[in-house]
C-alpha cells in the first residue's frame, strides 16, 4: 500500500497552491517606495576597443538620475570565479578580470557597457538610446579551434592566449591509455558537438538593490538558486561589504536550471547603485536580454575514442574536448568541463584506463557555465554515443555490449578518481527492457514501415555524480568554497516546526518533501512543519541548490539537526516520565518508556522546553532548536538506463518521439511523484537539446538565435507521455537518508538515447549515417540522409 504521508508518500506539492493561482512572490513582485529603474546599454558588437562612452545628451533627458559607465567601477572588484583549475603542467588557469560594466574593451554581444538609472523604466531605456559609444571593432573570436590557433586575435589582451587551461585527467594514465589503444583489437572514433544551450527559465533574472543609510545595511533581492553564495561572492570579492551588512533574499524563483547559480554584474550593479544614489534600484531582464546575458550551457567540441579487445571488453577511453568559456569566466565555469565531466568519463563501465583532455577556450560569446547536468551530460553523451557506434561497427547488440562491460562490484574505484559506493546497472536495464517493451519493438517498426516511415530504438545507460563533496577534496581540486550545507530545526512551544534550510527551492518541491522527512522522523503531521529558505537573514548558512544536491546534502544536514532535536527532546521526556533516557522511544509523535504504558506526547515535551516549570534546568537548556552543518563523505551516484523510440519521416527528416522510458536508481525516494516530475522535466530539456535547441552565433559573434522565433524550445506536443520508474533502489551508503538526487538525471540520460534512436531508424532504412550532431532538426536529419543516398547512388 502506498503511504499517505512521510517518506515514500506522494504528498501533493503544497507550494503549487501559490504557483498555480498566481500568488507566488517573485523578485519582480518586489517594489520598494522610491525605487529607481536601471536599463543596461548592452554591446551590439562582439569585440571592440572601447574608446569612450558619451553620456552627455542622455544624462540631460527626462527622469535620468545618473548614468554609470565602466569608469565608475574601476575601484570595484572583478566578478569572481569560484573555481581554479590547475593545468596538465601544474600551472593555474588564465583568469581575466571580469568588470561590472565593460571598460576599455567590449568582449561579447550583450555585455553591459553603460547603466542608465532613471525614475521610470521607459525613461531609462529612452536615455540609453542617446548614449554614444566610440569604439573600434575588432575581429570576433567565435570558433574555438581558431581561437587557440597561432596568431589568433586575443579576447583578453593581458592573457598570453585564448587558452584558459589545458587539462589532463588522469595525466599519469595518458601513456598507459595510449598503449592500450595501440594494442586494441578494435577502436571506435567519434567526433561530436555538444550544442550550446540557453537555459530559458520561465522567470527572467531580476535584481533589486536597497540601502539603509541609518544602519549601513545593504539588501539585494535577486533571482538566485543560492543567496548565501551571492552574499559571499559579491560582498567579499566585488563590493567589499561585510556579511553582517549585506542581506541577500531570493524569494520565489521561477526556475533556475543552473543559470541562476552564478553571480552576475547586474546584481552587483543594483547593490552598488542603491548605496551610491541612496535609493532602491531595480532591474528586470527582458527575454531578449536573457538570451545574451544569462550564462549559456554546454558548447563542447569533442573527439572520443573507445578501445576494445577481441572479446569486446572495453580496454581504454581517450577524449579530447574543446570547452567554450565564452568571454569571461562565470562563477563555476572552469569546473564544468573538468571535475564535473572528466570524473564521469568511466560511465557505468569497468574500463580500466581513461584519459581525458580538456582545452578551455575564451571566445567573444556569452559566458558558458553549468546548465542542468553540467559536464555530466557532455560525458554521458560522448560515451553512450561511442558505445552505440562501436556496437554497430562490431555488429553486436548495443544493450548486450553495455551489459558485458557494466561495473557489477561495489564499491568501485574508477580510473578517473571517483569511487562509486553502490549501484546495480543490470537491474535498471532489466526494468527498462520491461517498461520500454523492447520485445514489441520489431512489430512496431513493421507497422511504421507499412506507413512509409522509419522507426528506431535507442538505448543508453548513464551515471552521474551529485552532491559534489567533500569540501577538503574539492578544495584540493580548486573549489574556492566549501560544499557542505546547513539546516536549523526550530521546534515551537506547541510542537510545530520551522526548518531553516540552505537549499533553495525553485521548482524542486522542497517545501513539500523536506517536511515529509521530519514528519517521518518525529511522527507528527506534515502540515505541522514548514520550510524556510532563500533569505540570508533567516537561515543559518547554505550553499544552495544545484548539482542535484539539495536532499543528499542539505536534507542530510536537516536530518542531523532533527536528530539533535529528538535527542534533546528524549532527555526532556525522560525527566517528565521519570525514566532513564536510554529507555525513551519516539514513535508516532509520542515518547514512551520501553516496556511500560507510560508516555508523553510530542507537544507536551516541546511545551515543557519553552515553559520549563517542571524541567531539569541545571542539566538541559530550555528551548528546542538545533543546527547542523553536513559535509558529505563522497558524491552520490544516481544511475539508470533510458530508451527512446522514434518514428522518422524519410521524406522530410522530421523525428517524432513515440515512446520514452527511464529506469532510474535514485536510492531511497522521499516523494515519488515529485521525483517523477523532476525526471519528466529533465527529459524534456534533454529532448530539447537533442532535437530542437541550438544557440547559434555567426562568424561575427552575432547571436543569431536570440529569440523564440529562432531558438526552439520543446513544447508539449514535441514530447511523448513518458514511462518512468524508480523502483530499482540501491541506497546511498554514506548519507543518513540513503538518497542520491534526481534533479538532473533526465537531462543527462536522455540525449544519447534520442540520437541513438534516430541513427537506428536511419540505418534501418539502409542509409549509411553514423552520426548527426545535435540538435537533430529535420533539416540536419534530411541532409544526412540525402548525402547518404547520394553517396550510395
Amino acid at each position: 500500500m502506498p503511504k499517505d504521508s512521510g517518506i515514500g508518500a506522494s504528498s501533493k506539492r503544497r507550494e503549487d497552491i501559490r504557483f498555480l493561482t498566481g500568488t507566488g512572490k517573485y523578485t519582480d513582485d518586489i517594489n520598494i517606495h522610491g525605487q529607481l529603474y536601471v536599463h543596461f546599454l548592452r554591446a551590439d558588437v562582439a569585440h571592440a576597443k572601447l574608446n569612450g562612452v558619451d553620456t552627455a545628451e542622455a544624462a540631460a533627458m527626462p527622469g535620468v538620475v545618473r548614468i554609470f559607465t565602466g569608469a565608475d567601477f574601476e575601484a570595484v572588484g572583478s566578478i569572481p570565479c569560484g573555481w581554479q583549475i590547475t593545468d596538465r603542467h601544474g600551472q593555474p588557469m588564465q583568469e581575466p578580470r571580469h568588470p561590472v560594466l565593460a571598460h576599455g574593451k567590449i568582449r561579447h554581444v550583450g555585455e553591459p557597457v553603460a547603466a542608465v538609472v532613471a525614475e521610470t523604466r521607459a525613461q531609462a531605456r529612452d536615455a540609453a538610446e542617446a548614449i554614444v559609444l566610440d569604439y573600434d571593432e575588432l575581429p570576433a573570436v567565435v570558433d574555438m579551434k581558431a581561437a587557440v590557433a597561432e596568431g589568433a586575435t586575443k579576447v583578453h589582451d593581458e592573457l598570453t592566449s585564448n587558452l584558459c587551461y589545458d587539462w589532463g585527467f588522469v595525466e599519469e594514465n595518458k601513456a598507459a591509455t595510449d598503449a592500450a589503444f595501440a594494442a586494441a583489437a578494435h577502436v571506435t572514433t567519434l567526433e561530436l558537438v555538444n550544442n550550446r544551450l540557453v537555459a530559458n527559465p520561465m522567470e527572467p533574472r531580476v535584481a533589486v538593490g536597497e540601502y539603509d543609510r541609518a544602519d549601513d545595511m545593504h539588501t539585494l533581492h535577486t533571482t538566485s538558486q543560492n543567496p548565501h553564495v551571492i552574499r559571499l561572492l559579491m560582498g567579499a570579492f566585488v563590493l567589499g561589504i561585510p556579511e553582517h551588512k549585506l542581506r541577500v533574499v531570493a524569494p520565489d524563483v521561477g526556475g533556475g536550471f543552473g543559470t541562476k547559480i552564478f553571480h552576475y554584474q547586474e546584481e552587483a550593479f543594483c547593490t552598488f547603485a542603491a548605496k551610491a544614489l541612496n535609493r532602491p534600484v531595480k532591474w528586470t531582464s527582458t527575454r531578449s536580454e536573457a538570451f545574451m546575458s544569462d550564462a549559456h550551457g554546454r558548447d563542447h567540441v569533442s573527439k572520443i575514442q573507445l578501445a576494445l579487445d577481441a572479446d569486446n571488453n572495453f580496454t581504454a577511453i581517450r577524449t579530447e574536448t574543446y570547452a567554450n568559456m565564452g568571454a569571461y569566466l562565470s562563477t563555476f565555469a572552469p569546473s564544468v568541463p573538468t571535475w564535473l565531466h572528466g570524473t564521469l568519463m568511466a560511465g557505468n563501465y569497468k574500463t580500466p584506463l581513461v584519459y581525458v583532455n580538456v582545452k578551455a577556450v575564451f571566445t567573444n560569446t556569452v559566458p558558458v557555465d553549468a546548465y542542468r547536468g553540467a559536464g555530466r551530460p557532455e560525458a554521458t553523451y560522448q560515451l553512450e554515443r561511442v558505445i552505440d557506434m562501436a556496437a554497430r561497427e562490431l555488429g553486436v547488440d548495443p544493450v548486450a555490449l553495455r551489459r558485458q562491460n557494466y561495473i557489477t562490484q561495489f564499491p568501485y574505484a574508477t580510473p578517473v578518481a571517483v569511487e562509486y559506493d553502490t549501484g546495480d546497472y543490470n537491474a535498471t536495464m532489466d526494468k527498462l527492457t520491461e517498461i520500454a517493451d523492447f520485445a514489441g519493438f520489431e512489430a512496431r517498426r513493421k507497422e511504421s514501415e507499412a506507413r512509409g516511415k522509419l522507426r528506431g530504438l535507442g538505448v543508453n545507460s548513464y551515471i552521474e555524480a551529485c552532491g559534489i563533496a567533500p569540501s577538503n577534496l574539492v578544495g584540493q581540486l580548486g573549489a574556492r568554497a566549501g560544499l557542505y550545507d546547513a539546516a536549523t530545526v526550530r521546534v515551537n512551544a506547541t510542537g510545530s516546526i520551522s526548518v531553516m534550510v540552505g537549499a533553495h527551492s525553485h521548482g524542486q518541491g522542497h517545501e513539500t518533501s523536506f517536511p515529509q522527512v521530519i514528519s517521518e522522523m518525529i511522527g507528527i503531521p506534515e502540515d505541522q512543519i514548514d520550510i524556510v529558505h532563500g533569505d540570508t537573514s533567516k537561515i543559518p548558512f547554505g550553499m544552495g541548490t544545484y548539482g542535484s544536491r539539495s536532499l543528499a546534502v542539505c536534507g542530510s544536514a536537516m536530518v542531523r539537526a532533527a536528530e539533535k532535536v529528538i535527542n534533546k527532546a528524549k532527555r526532556i521526556a525522560a525527566h517528565l516520565l521519570e525514566a532513564s533516557e536510554g529507555d525513551i522511544e519516539l514513535k508516532d509523535g509520542t515518547f514512551s518508556v520501553a516496556g511500560t504504558d507510560k508516555s508523553v506526547a510530542w507537544g507536551d515535551v516541546t511545551l515543557a522546553a519553552y515553559v520549563p516549570h517542571n524541567y531539569p534546568l541545571t542539566d538541559i537548556e530550555p528551548g528546542l532548536e538545533e543546527t547542523a552543518f553536513y559535509d558529505p563523505a563522497n558524491f552520490t551516484y544516481p544511475a539508470g538506463a533510458y530508451a527512446c523510440e522514434v518514428e522518422l519521416d524519410p521524406e522530410t527528416g522530421h523525428v517524432k518521439i513515440e515512446r520514452f522510458s527511464a529506469a532510474d536508481d535514485f536510492g531511497n525516494v522521499i516523494n515519488p511523484m515529485i521525483v517523477s516530475g523532476q525526471v519528466h522535466g529533465g527529459i524534456a530539456q534533454g529532448i530539447g537539446q537533442a532535437l530542437l535547441e541550438n544557440c547559434a552565433y555567426d562568424a561575427d559573434g552575432q547571436l543569431i538565435s536570440a529569440s523564440y522565433m529562432d531558438y526552439a524550445m520543446p513544447r508539449a506536443d514535441d514530447l511523448p507521455f513518458y514511462s518512468v520508474d524508480h523502483s530499482c533502489q540501491t541506497p546511498c551508503t554514506h548519507n543518513p537518508l540513503g538518497v542520491k538526487g534526481c534533479g538532473e538525471a533526465g537531462a543527462i540520460g536522455s540525449p544519447p538515447s534520442v540520437v541513438n534512436a534516430v541513427i537506428d531508424a536511419i540505418q534501418s532504412g539502409g542509409m549509411n549515417v553514423a552520426h548527426i550532431d545535435m540538435p537533430l532538426t529535420p533539416h540536419r536529419v534530411w541532409a544526412a540522409m540525402h548525402a547518404a543516398r547520394t553517396d550510395a547512388a
Binding site: 521607459a122 531605456r125 529612452d126 538610446e129 531578449s288 521524406e651 522530410t652 522530421h654 532535437l691 530542437l692 541550438n694 547559434a696 543569431i704 538565435s705 523564440y708 522565433m709 529562432d710 531558438y711 526552439a712 524550445m713 532538426t777 529535420p778 533539416h779 534530411w782 541532409a783 540525402h786
Partner: protein
C-alpha cells in the same frame, strides 16, 4: 516600446481619417506589437480596426465566393468555414497558437505579407480577390515580394473573397522554433485548372508553382508531380533549412497536399 496614442474608430470612415492623418493601422498586431516592443517602429498613433463591426464576419456572395472581412480573427474564420471550405478552415485553425488565433486577422496577415505567413498561400492558391477601402485587387497582382504588396501606404484591407475550389488542401511543415511554415503548400482544384501556392520557402514571398499547376491540371494526383522540382535558387536559406532543403520540401508538401485533397 515607445509611447504612442491609440485611436479606436468604430467605422471605416473614421479609421480612414485617422490613418490619413498619419496613424498606423493595427489589425490584430501579431507582427506589429512585437515590432513595437523591440522598438523597431515608432508610430505616433495606432489605429485599431478591432472595433469596426463592418470589418468583421464571414459570408457567401452571389457568386458563391466565401467573403472574409478584413478584421475577422483566425479562430472565427476556422469556425465559419469548417463545412463550406474545410481547407481554409484547416489553415486558419493552425496559425500560431490560440492567443494568436484570437487576435490575428486575415487583413493584418495579407497586409503584412510575411514570407512565412499561412494566409497568403490560400489567398494566392485560390486566386482570391483582396478588397480594400478603395478598390479590388486580384491575388496574382497583390503579392509583390517579401513584406511587399500592391497596397498603398494608407490603404486598408476590408475583405478577402475566396472562390471555393472543387478540392483543396493545405500542408504545412513548420519551422521548429517559430512554428511558422518552413514550407507550406496550398493546392486548389477549380473547374478551369489547378493552382499551387507556396509560402515560407522563397525569398520573394508566396509564389505559384506553375509547373506543378500544369501537371496537376492534367492529372490531379500526387504522382503527377514526380520528377518536378522547384529551383533551389531563390529559396530562403537560414538556420532552419538550406535552400536545397526548402526546394525539396516544396515537392514533398505539394504531393501531400494533393494526396489529401483528392
Amino acid at each position: 516600446m515607445y509611447a504612442f496614442d491609440i485611436a479606436r474608430p468604430t467605422t471605416l470612415d473614421e479609421a480612414k481619417a485617422a490613418i490619413a492623418a498619419g496613424g498606423q493601422a493595427l489589425s490584430g498586431g501579431q507582427t506589429l506589437i512585437p515590432t513595437l516592443k523591440a522598438r523597431l517602429a515608432m508610430p505616433e498613433t495606432l489605429v485599431s480596426l478591432h472595433g469596426i463591426a463592418d470589418l468583421k464576419g464571414v459570408s457567401t456572395d452571389s457568386a458563391g465566393r466565401i467573403c472574409v472581412k478584413g478584421a475577422t480573427v483566425h479562430r472565427a474564420v476556422a469556425e465559419a468555414v469548417a463545412d463550406s471550405f474545410p481547407a481554409l478552415s484547416y489553415l486558419a485553425s493552425r496559425i500560431g497558437d490560440p492567443a494568436v488565433r484570437n487576435r490575428g486577422t486575415i487583413g493584418g496577415s495579407v497586409a503584412n505579407n510575411d514570407p512565412s505567413a499561412c494566409y497568403p498561400a490560400a489567398v494566392l492558391g485560390c486566386g482570391a480577390t483582396i478588397c480594400t477601402d478603395r478598390r479590388e485587387i486580384a491575388a496574382d497582382d497583390y503579392f509583390q515580394g517579401m513584406f511587399t504588396t500592391a497596397l498603398e501606404e494608407d490603404e486598408i484591407v476590408t475583405e478577402v473573397k475566396f472562390p471555393v475550389p472543387q478540392a483543396a488542401a493545405y500542408e504545412k511543415f513548420i519551422q521548429p522554433a517559430s512554428r511558422f511554415p518552413l514550407v507550406a503548400v496550398f493546392v486548389a482544384r477549380f473547374a478551369d485548372g489547378v493552382r499551387v501556392a507556396i509560402t515560407g520557402a522563397s525569398e520573394s514571398g508566396v509564389f505559384r508553382w506553375s509547373a506543378a499547376e500544369d501537371a496537376l491540371s492534367a492529372n490531379f494526383a500526387p504522382d503527377a508531380l514526380d520528377g518536378l522540382s522547384v529551383d533551389a535558387d531563390g529559396m530562403i536559406g537560414d538556420l532552419h533549412g538550406s535552400k536545397d532543403y526548402r526546394a525539396h520540401l516544396c515537392g514533398v508538401m505539394a504531393k501531400r497536399a494533393v494526396a489529401r485533397a483528392v
